[in-house]
Every structure is written in structure tokens, then in C-alpha cells.
């Protein structure tokens, strides 16, 4: 459906370099990247607001790199929605329809229809200054959808919405995608990718460094940057070696991890997801693949409940629900044991 072929674009202090991507018809593609990584600029290139220095953009087997914005039939919803403040909600949604040869009756009909779908029919006569973030988001979507785009580009659509409204927006986006609309969504939040994407691409240093279904990308990140995007905070620089049939990873803090078998280079990074580590307030029974004794250094609130930092020669970050923490009765300076299965370790060979 959409093909980006070796897109290069110098943008101020950074450059998009050889960006290649292929997005299929009906796909929900989430492009992950830090703020300032060029995600929004890539969307503007696809929409036609900017022209690449080199490379090509193809839509439905047609090269549209030099095609006018107005002829591309691509909808772009901006991060802050870019709602026209000098118009009512109706005026905003009808804006694109005034460019064509539609009669007043048909314009009214199409605006009403899309407003119903977006649950904003009651707002049509309102000016936009008094609307909430969620309402503005819906107006922006309606204004774009009324153009019947063949591709919808979303620039950080959840960034300016209250947490309570995010689920509503996600539901709406899923519905649109289910109806067959191809969506490219850029964000810095991996959770949006997990809950929405059929495929995810990670943009780093102006390049898409990893691509694939979200579960695969987050289970097997190819480097530390992607791993951070998967919410992983436990990184250990290790040296790999074999002891008989077992595979071990030696950490400089004299920790030895049991890991899954694999053909690794000499050294690399071992990654552990916080939620795969179990914390015990007394020495656990034997039989765990990995078990370390440590001291609780910090306990802080986190989005999952509480985050416990345990010093076991190396710092381990462990997420716990608040109730689990209460049951454990641990506090700062408590002695604890942490365990995790060898399958929990994600190995990144090399020094990257």
C-alpha cells in the first residue's frame, strides 16, 4: 500500500537516513521513536508537506514523491490537532468539502454522518476553544475522515489526551482500522504500540532499526535502545560461556546468570523485564534457575504499582502491585531474594 524507499531528508540538526518501510493495505503500523527522532517529519514527508532530499514514496504502486499534497488522499491528524480556531466544529469538518463541487445539502449530510460516527454531532455549532482534549481529538479525526483518505497518519494521537480518554480513542482507532483503513501512527509510548499495532517499527538515529509484530519486537529487541522502548530497565553487561550443557552469563558484579542455550558471541547485554522477576522476603526453596540475595535500596510508586530497587551486586528494578508489596512486608534496607527463570533473560550479543 505504502512504500518508503531509501528516504533521506536533512532536518535541522538530524537526518532521516535510508528509511525503508512497507505498510500493507489495512495494516495498523506504529512507528516508535523518541521526541525529536524525526517521526513527525516522516509523516509530513508521506503527507506531502515536505519533499525528501532523495528516495521515493509509493502509494498503491504509484510514485507520489512529487505529487501535490491535495492529490495524495492522505489524512494527517496533528499532535495538537491543528483545529481551526476561527471556525465552528461544523466549519472545521466541512473545510475539505468546500474545495470540491459538493452542494450545501450533501456537505451537511456528510458532515452529520461523520460527526455521528465520532460522537460529536452535538458539538457541530460550537466553537473549538471550549472543547476538551478528547473532543478536539474527535473533531480532528472527523475532519480528516470526511475526506475519505486511503491512508490515515496519526502524529502522537494520545499525547494531549487525558489518561481516562485514551481507551476511548484507542477503541475508535481500532474500529477505523477494522473497517479497512490503513493507519500509520507515530508515538514515543510502546504501550500504544502493544495495544494497537499489527506491526511496529522503531525509529532511532533517523533509521528504522527494528520492525515486526509488537510482541516479537518487544520480546526480542535487537539493541538496548529498542529494549528501553519495551520498558526494560534491567541491563547487565555480561560475558557468555558454557559449563557443560548449561549456558552462563558472567556479570562484572560477580553475578552469574543461568540463561537459555544459544550461540552467542563472547560478550553482550543481558536484559530482564521487571515483571518477570519475583521478589521474596525469605530465602526461597531451591530449584530456581536464578536466585540472588540483595538489599532493598528504594521503593517508589510506578505506573504498575510500586517499583522496588534491589542491590544484589548490581541494581535490579522490580515492578510489583501495591498489594503484593504489602503482603511481602518489605521496606528500604530489608534483605530480600530475587528469582527469575532462565527464559526471562533476553540476550543481546555484541557490545551494542
Amino acid at each position: 500500500m505504502l512504500k518508503l524507499k531509501k528516504i533521506n531528508k536533512k532536518l535541522g540538526h538530524f537526518t532521516l537516513t535510508n528509511v525503508n518501510a512497507e505498510i500493507h493495505e489495512g495494516e495498523y503500523y506504529v512507528l516508535l521513536g523518541r521526541s525529536g527522532s524525526g517521526k513527525s517529519q516522516l509523516l509530513e514527508l508521506i503527507a506531502g508537506l515536505k519533499t525528501p532530499d532523495s528516495g521515493e514514496i509509493w502509494i498503491n504502486n504509484k510514485n507520489v514523491t512529487r505529487q501535490k499534497i491535495q492529490d495524495r488522499r492522505i489524512g494527517l491528524v496533528f499532535q495538537d490537532y491543528a483545529i481551526f480556531p476561527n471556525m465552528t466544529v461544523f466549519g472545521n469538518i466541512a473545510y475539505s468539502l468546500h474545495s470540491g463541487k459538493l452542494g450545501k445539502k450533501e456537505i451537511n449530510q456528510r458532515v452529520s454522518q461523520v460527526a455521528e460516527e465520532m460522537n460529536i454531532a452535538h458539538l457541530l455549532d460550537r466553537f473549538t476553544q471550549t472543547l476538551s482534549g478528547g473532543e478536539l481529538q474527535r473533531v480532528a479525526l472527523a475532519r480528516t475522515l470526511v475526506t475519505s483518505p486511503r491512508l490515515l497518519l496519526l502524529d502522537e494521537p494520545m499525547a494531549s489526551v487525558d489518561a481516562s480518554l485514551k481507551d476511548d480513542i484507542k477503541r475508535t482507532l481500532r474500529q477505523l482500522n477494522r473497517k479497512g483503513l490503513t493507519i500509520v501512527h507515530v508515538t514515543h509510548d510502546y504501550r500504544e504500540a502493544i495495544s494497537l499495532a499489527s506491526r511496529v517499527g522503531v525509529l532511532h538515529n533517523g533509521q528504522i532499526v527494528q520492525e515486526g509484530p509488537p510482541k516479537e519486537v518487544f520480546r526480542k529487541p535487537i539493541n538496548k535502545f529498542v529494549a528501553r522502548y519495551a520498558g526494560i530497565r534491567n541491563f547487565f553487561r555480561v560475558k557468555f560461556h558454557r559449563e557443560g550443557n548449561a549456558c552462563k552469563a558472567h556479570c562484572k558484579g560477580n553475578l552469574i546468570f543461568n540463561i537459555i542455550d544459544g550461540s552467542f558471541s563472547e560478550e553482550g547485554l543481558l536484559l530482564l523485564k521487571s515483571d518477570e522477576i519475583t521478589i521474596h522476603d525469605s530465602a526461597p526453596e531451591q530449584g530456581h534457575d536464578n536466585c540472588f540475595r540483595g538489599i532493598v535500596r528504594e521503593i517508589n510508586p510506578s505506573e504498575y504499582g510500586m517499583e522496588v530497587t534491589v542491590d544484589a551486586g548490581e541494581p535490579f528494578y522490580i515492578d510489583l502491585p501495591v498489594n503484593d508489596l504489602k503482603m511481602l512486608k518489605i521496606k528500604e534496607s530489608s534483605v530480600v531474594w530475587i528469582t527469575f527463570p532462565k527464559e526471562a533473560g533476553i540476550v543481546l550479543p555484541g557490545t551494542g
Binding site: A47, L49, Q70, L76, N86, Y95, D125, T144
Partner: protein
């Protein structure tokens, strides 16, 4: 609220002195002008002709030059191009030039030996000592006020709004007229008022281009030179009243314009 500490007292005293410096001469002039003299001046045909000429020529100059100045302001706000700073400097040049020097420059341009003068001459039009020449002199010294205000207005319009309109299928000119212009309208009208007011009060450049027909500032100068302070004062007071009246009226219109921008029909 303003706290009564020593620093604030100093600020208040210094501010009051500056305001007094502006208001005292004006108040003195008003106090020294009797009602009878003022009424006589109002009835004076020469004064009436002069004031009317000043108002319409300044308005016409502002209106005509706005047609080119507003798009230029948009370019300055939105586009980067080689020598942009030089262009900005050229626009601000009339503000720093001595106005008599500006008048000389304009005169050279519109006299029969000048480029524009020659062109006008072929059409049987003389620009020197003509309202058209006065309009050019007024515009020369007052254009920066409109361009700079409109440029700031356009710059304050988020570029994303224009981009959003483009992605919705609008052409560049439709984006300009439905998004950029309505959202920058208040600054443009403010600039319009400033240019009009500045043009109306111009003396130095106009007196060199056209002593006759007399615009109000030239008339006041002529009365002062010929008859002294006492005879120049009523015309001055009257001109200040007219200028203030027009200034307030246009400001009110500009405020109302802003409300109009937000009406439901603004887009259609």
C-alpha cells in the same frame, strides 16, 4: 496589586514623569485654546479641505499599499530566502531616515526627471504637488508599521494550521484567505491603523513633495510661520481631536473584526 515598597514608588514616579511629559504640552495647548477660536477653525473652509485631504489621502495610501504589503508580511513570516534580513532592513529603513531626506528621495523619484514621474507624465499626470505624490510620501514613511505588524500577526498563526488545511485539500491561496488572513486579521488591522495614523501626521516628507494642496500638518506649519503660535494652535487642537477620533474608531472596528472572525460564517 501594586505593593507600596520603595522600588515600586520609584517606578511610579518615573512613569508618571514620562506620562506627564507627553500629556502636559497637549493639555497646555487645549487649555490655551478657547471654544470660540475652535469653532471658528471648524468653520474655516481651508481647514476643512485640508483635513479631508489628509484623511482620505492617508487612507487611500494605506489601503492601496496594503494590497502588496500584507502578502509581503506573510512571506517574511513564513518563508526563508536569501537576503531575508536585508529585505527586513530595507523595510525598516524609512523609520530611521530623516523624513525630509525621505521627501527628497521621493521627490527625485516622482519629479518629471524621475522614473515614476516620467511614467506618470506620459499619462498626463503630475505627481508633485498632487494628492498622489502626497500618498506616496505618506506611504514611504509609514509602510513599516503595517508590514511589521502584519508579519508578527502571521508569525503568530501556528504553521500547523496552514499545513492541516493543505492536507485537507485546500490550495495555497485558499489556505491564505481562510486560515492565515482571518487569524492574523487583528494584527493586520492594527498595522493598518498605525500606518494610517502615521501617514496622516507626516509633515517632513510631504512638505517637500507637495506644499500645496496642503495637508493638515503643512497647514498648521504654514499658519505658525505666517501668523504665529496663537493662530496655529486651534488648527493643531482640532487636528489632534480628529486624529484621536479616527484612531479610536479604527481600533474599535479592529476589535469588532476579531469577533466577526469567530462567527459561524467565517469559513463559508
Amino acid at each position: 496589586m501594586f505593593k507600596r515598597n520603595s522600588f515600586n514608588w520609584i517606578l511610579m514616579i518615573l512613569s508618571s514623569l514620562v506620562l506627564l511629559f507627553i500629556l502636559a504640552p497637549l493639555a497646555g495647548m487645549f487649555l490655551h485654546t478657547g471654544g470660540t477660536e475652535l469653532l471658528e477653525t471648524v468653520g474655516d473652509k481651508e481647514v476643512q479641505r485640508s483635513f479631508w485631504l489628509t484623511l482620505w489621502v492617508s487612507f487611500a495610501a494605506t489601503f492601496i499599499f496594503a494590497i502588496g504589503a500584507v502578502p509581503l508580511a506573510w512571506l517574511l513570516a513564513r518563508k526563508n530566502f536569501p537576503l531575508k534580513n536585508v529585505v527586513q532592513g530595507i523595510i525598516d529603513l524609512p523609520v530611521v531616515l530623516p523624513h525630509t531626506a525621505a521627501g527628497i528621495a521621493i521627490l527625485g523619484f516622482i519629479s518629471r526627471d524621475g522614473f515614476l514621474g516620467k511614467a506618470a507624465d506620459t499619462l498626463g499626470l503630475t505627481l508633485v504637488n498632487n494628492p498622489a505624490g502626497i500618498a506616496l510620501a505618506m506611504a514611504f514613511v509609514s509602510l513599516p508599521f503595517l508590514i511589521n505588524s502584519a508579519r508578527d500577526g502571521f508569525a503568530a498563526v501556528p504553521e500547523r494550521l496552514e499545513k492541516a488545511a493543505l492536507t485537507l485539500g485546500a490550495g495555497r491561496s485558499r489556505v491564505f484567505f481562510t486560515i492565515s488572513l482571518p487569524l492574523a486579521w487583528r494584527s493586520i488591522v492594527t498595522g493598518f491603523v498605525m500606518m494610517f495614523a502615521r501617514g496622516m501626521s507626516e509633515f517632513g516628507a510631504v512638505v517637500i513633495v507637495a506644499y500645496h494642496p496642503m495637508i493638515a500638518p503643512v497647514l498648521i506649519y504654514e499658519r505658525f510661520n505666517s501668523f504665529g503660535l496663537k493662530y496655529a494652535r486651534p488648527a493643531s487642537v482640532l487636528f489632534i481631536i480628529v486624529a484621536l477620533g479616527v484612531f479610536i474608531l479604527l481600533r474599535l472596528v479592529s476589535l469588532r473584526k476579531k469577533e466577526t472572525n469567530l462567527s459561524p460564517d467565517a469559513e463559508a
